[in-house]
């Protein structure tokens, strides 16, 4: 009997909290000891700099990099287990893949940033009145810039975010200048893993290659989506001029291991030594380091023999 009573009480209390959270007019703010924004739902611009969130939890490595790049690093109290950049971020065991609402709330956040929401994180945060920002993988580079701006506005660093967008734009256009058209007419294969998952030009990463005039061999497989798995014999017969390995982490693939695959030794990129290891993190995150990726590609193109 006691148990049932406790259960009913908990239900009632939960309902009251939810009502409180969704009451947008609640002046005191339902969440956060700092008494900042109390409205749940997607976070908007703070009314004044003092109202900016001071206890941000980031559940996405890309979001973490954006937060620090726009100057909101001091406001971040916890980041997920995959966030490892910039150095010194408060990495925790929080998971961005299977976020645990209670664990997140344990950090008393006044803003939660995440990229995907399979586990109803947003509705949970709504119930307890904690504002959040959802930053899914953008479809293109402009989408990434928009996210930089959005993070800047919500954290009270709109001006720095604007500067950041300008800086990354500058980095990418400088990279295109460095390459100087050396990529025109060359084909490439961007390898995500040894079972030949890759990206097409529809993907965010594929768009960066397109900026250099590079042709993606996977584009003829775009019926299978932006991240198709190619057949080995197709890659060999498509004969790419360049191969970029996004699976070259320690113990991963290398120019040598690619050359040993059956039938791959004759591929132009392998024969001419044009197999390049990319940084795993910069090729999977849509943060400010996309400029670095563009510069890496530019360097590869500029250093190619015969250019």
């Amino acid at each position: 009997m006691l148990r049932i009573l406790a259960f009913v009480a908990a239900l009632l209390l939960g309902g009251a909290l939810a009502a409180c959270g969704s009451g947008a007019g609640d002046p005191g703010g339902g969440a956060g000891a700092s008494g900042t924004a109390g409205a749940s739902g997607t976070a908007g611009a703070p009314a004044s700099p003092e109202d900016a969130p001071q206890r941000i939890v980031s559940l996405s490595p890309s979001a973490t990099e954006i937060l620090y790049a726009v100057g909101a690093g001091d406001q971040v109290v916890a980041v997920d287990d995959q966030s490892n950049f910039p150095q010194g971020v408060p990495t925790t065991d929080l998971s961005g893949y299977t976020p645990n609402l209670e664990a997140v709330l344990g950090y008393q956040p006044d803003l939660v940033v995440f990229s995907d929401d399979d586990g109803d994180l947003a509705s949970g945060l709504d119930k307890v009145g904690v504002p959040y920002l959802k930053l899914p993988a953008p479809g293109d580079i402009e989408g990434a810039y928009e996210q930089f701006a959005q993070v800047g506005v919500v954290t009270g660093h709109a001006d720095q975010a604007h500067e950041l967008v300008g800086a990354v734009r500058g980095q990418i256009s400088a990279a295109i200048d460095t390459a100087g058209g050396a990529g025109q007419g060359l084909s490439y294969f961007h390898e995500l893993d040894p079972t030949l998952y890759t990206v097409t030009s529809e993907s965010f990463i594929g768009q960066i290659y397109s900026l250099f005039g590079l042709e993606n061999i996977a584009d003829s497989a775009s019926a299978a989506g932006a991240y198709p798995q190619l057949q080995s014999e197709f890659v060999v017969s498509a004969n790419p001029d360049l191969i970029f390995l996004a699976d070259a982490e320690p113990g991963g693939e290398s120019a040598a291991s690619v050359a040993q695959r059956p039938g791959w030794a004759g591929v132009t990129a392998v024969r001419d030594g044009q197999v390049y290891a990319l940084d795993d993190d910069t090729t999977s995150r849509w943060g400010p380091r996309i400029g670095e990726l563009a510069q890496h590609i530019a360097q590869v193109l500029a250093d190619r023999p015969g250019t």
Binding site: D193, T195, Y197, Q231, S237, E249, G251, G266
Partner: protein
């Protein structure tokens, strides 16, 4: 009947060799294959690269598909005969789940720098499969008392569920390896050329030969253990041996191809409806039909989204399930 089945299977293997994403003309491929025959010299006109595509990528894939399909099917038929249960297959006995757990652990260990190389995953999958079926067998024996076969199947379900749970738990902890675990779980017949074929060939050969040797014994045992014993057969020993051999073969092929479901149960049932329940026909026909079925499924996997791949496990389930129902309908009509 077996002669006709051999001809059909050979035709399917040849057809599969002619189809591919790299635009080799079937005529050139045929010429190339003819050129490989003794005393025949034909100029196929293939470039060195096309030659490599055919001999190093496509042909090993077709052969591996045939070996994997044959083994899964004959192992399924053997399990069903041994346990006298039409539902017995490598999945229900926990072999595949145990292999999946082993492979997952090794993929994660490899990703965190344990560095076993490409051999680590097959070895771990193999070990996982053996451990799982041993657990199934021992559990079934100790819990089951005298009601052997049914209890062993149920024990297999429990072991498989436990292995799946453990695998999911491990996966959740190491999510950056999800992609590679996932693609292994969906099954794939690709990219390692002849090395995968030579890796599994001894196990496949032993499995098929030993199971076929027992085709008459299984027929006798299907009448009953007492009758079998009166003819000098020791049913418990035969069971243990056949389960061990079928598990060995299944774990070996699953360790290179990933989890490919439905072959071990669909193929023997289809064969049974055409050729009857006798093991003398069922077992060799299952070998051939299994090879043909998986190679055909791989042709679908290679062509539907070409030049992209469709995971073959998806294809075997997608064409296996309706095919199974059609066969069942036909079978009822025949009775």
């Amino acid at each position: 009947m077996i002669g006709a089945a051999i001809a059909v299977t050979a035709a399917i293997l040849l057809m599969a060799t002619l189809v591919g994403a790299s635009g080799l003309s079937p005529g050139a491929v045929l010429a190339e294959l003819a050129d490989a025959l003794p005393l025949v010299h034909v100029d196929s006109g293939l470039s060195a690269q096309q030659h490599a595509i055919l001999w190093q990528i496509r042909l090993p894939r077709v052969v591996l598909g045939a070996l994997v399909g044959a083994t899964l099917a004959v192992a399924g038929a053997a399990y069903q005969g041994v346990f006298r249960n039409p539902l017995a297959d490598p999945y229900l006995l926990g072999v595949s789940s145990g292999a999946g757990l082993g492979a997952t652990v090794m993929i994660i260990a490899g990703a965190s720098g344990a560095g076993m190389g490409s051999l680590g995953v097959p070895v771990a999958a193999f070990a996982g499969g053996i451990v799982a079926v041993a657990a199934t067998y021992l559990l079934g024996r100790s819990v089951g008392g005298g009601r052997g076969e049914v209890v062993i199947i149920l024990a297999g379900v429990a072991v498989a569920a436990f292995a799946n749970a453990a695998q999911t738990f491990v996966q959740q902890r190491y999510q950056d390896t999800l992609q590679s675990v996932y693609s292994w779980l969906l099954g794939r017949l690709s990219t390692d050329g002849w090395s995968d074929v030579t890796l599994v060939l001894p196990y496949v050969a032993v499995t098929i030969v030993v199971i076929l040797l027992f085709r008459r014994t299984l027929d006798v045992m299907s009448v009953g253990d007492v009758e079998a014993a009166s003819l000098g057969i020791r049913p418990a020993r035969v069971r243990l041996l056949l389960v061990a051999v079928a598990t060995l073969g299944t774990a070996a092929v699953v360790s290179v191809s990933g989890l490919i479901g439905f072959v071990g149960i669909v193929v023997p049932h289809a064969v049974r409806l055409v050729a009857g329940p006798g093991h003398r026909l069922l077992l060799p026909l299952s070998v051939l039909a299994g090879a043909a079925f998986l190679v055909l499924a791989d042709v679908v996997a290679r062509t539907v989204l070409s030049p992209a791949e469709l995971p073959i496990g998806v294809v075997t389930a997608a064409i296996g399930a309706p095919f199974f129902l059609v066969v069942l309908r036909r079978g009822r009509g025949m009775q």
